[in-house]
Point group: C2
Chain length 83, copies 2
């Protein structure tokens, strides 16, 4: 999912009918591509969010998720320096 979100336009074409890509991609789009149930995907996204790798924005009945690039940079540096 994290890799998919690097190129939302390519990986989630259906998102066009759901408000575009400004805020990210909504859960239903990710669920369809992942082939897992709605509850599983929702929980997974919430874990990634708590871990800081993605950000959530609620707009109406949709929740949009997008990557937080800083977290990946920080993880990479953490491995370099602390591990």
């Amino acid at each position: 999912m994290l890799e998919w979100l690097k190129d939302p336009e390519f990986n989630f074409p259906g998102q066009l009918e759901h408000g575009g890509f400004e805020h990210g991609v909504c859960v239903g789009q990710i669920q369809a591509k992942a082939g897992l149930t709605q509850s599983t995907v929702s929980e997974y996204l919430s874990i990634l969010q708590r871990a800081g790798f993605i950000e959530a924005k609620r707009v109406g009945q949709w929740t949009y998720y997008k990557r937080n690039e800083g977290a990946f940079e920080a993880l990479s540096k953490l491995i370099q320096t602390n591990l």
Copy 2:
């Protein structure tokens, strides 16, 4: 354990009586510090070795493990570029 192996002289003083630090640290030293059973530590080290994070060298009845710094650098770069 991976962090411990960054400074073997400091973290495994008992290793002095087991051939020094040239080849790394032997399993018994790591086991004592970890506070886990011998079998658990042995299996754990073998997993880290298969993953490429440490290297093993058998000398007599001892197996010495030391870090493979290249693997950490590679992981850090992988996160930067692929994740």
